[in-house]
Symmetry: C2
Subunit: 142 residues, 2 copies
Amino acid sequence: MAAPDDAPGGPPLSKRDFEALARFRFGIRRYLRFSEETVRRHGLTPQQYQLLLAIKGFPDRDWATVRELADRLQLRHHSVVELVNRAQGQGLVDRTPHPTDARAVRVVLTAEGERILARLSALHRDELRRQDTALFPPTWEG
Amino acid sequence: MAAPDDAPGGPPLSKRDFEALARFRFGIRRYLRFSEETVRRHGLTPQQYQLLLAIKGFPDRDWATVRELADRLQLRHHSVVELVNRAQGQGLVDRTPHPTDARAVRVVLTAEGERILARLSALHRDELRRQDTALFPPTWEG
DNA sequence: GGTGTTGCATCGTAACGCGATACATCCGGT
DNA sequence: ACCGGATGTATCGCGTTACGATGCAACACC
């Protein structure tokens, strides 16, 4: 099933390259792990936090459509639908009609969602400060 | 359920801070998404690729114990056991006895696992080059 | 040599993302 | 103004996966 046209564009990797790649992945896992434990302590699932952050952190706006969220979260549309359903059931987000497109839905944060997200995001900022350069992707300017 | 002792250590976040946090998360999701689609095209699950990479990329070694892998993958021990089981079933890794500790197990790559990992890792290196600064974590030196 | 600790493994369970599918709304061409 | 294709949201059933609980063998220390 290997696609024939995705040949790598460079020399084979050295032991150090594998280590660098693995360390980066390790950094990501550590960060996501911290995130998961933190948000769960506040009664949210990791996906819910990501949803709230994607809404509040949407460029130049404070809301987003389901489709836009699917792009930002890199999920299928209906996965986001279910995610929004669960978050709405917990009072974290709300659906409001889109002003110009009757198909689309504006997903917005509730006051509660706003409050929790503020606290969780501050904790994530602190953790990012703490991890510092551990999260930097490797470079290959050898 | 909110722990009382995890108060954030800084000022509340601005809109830009939320956007920076969301963009970083977006970068991670995009990278993981690329990774998932790439490795699946080669018949592996994302976890299996991470497993192989963690073994080959283990500092100063080419093997690791289940426990060490659990740390690097940020999983519980038995989750790694099951992961190794599946990977072993596909001929990607092997278990060999630990030389000095009869409890522990050395998890090593097979020739097949080695081959696939080399190709996949090269593709990941290319993708990291492509994403460039998009994966840099935000900084708060405001 | 007994007791606590460490490492690997098994079983049942719950959550999550997905494919397949359905339906309403928008848009462009004639 | 209409009709076909595209777009956006939603529902259902399923497979995968990480987990908690539990068990067992091997080590370490006094």
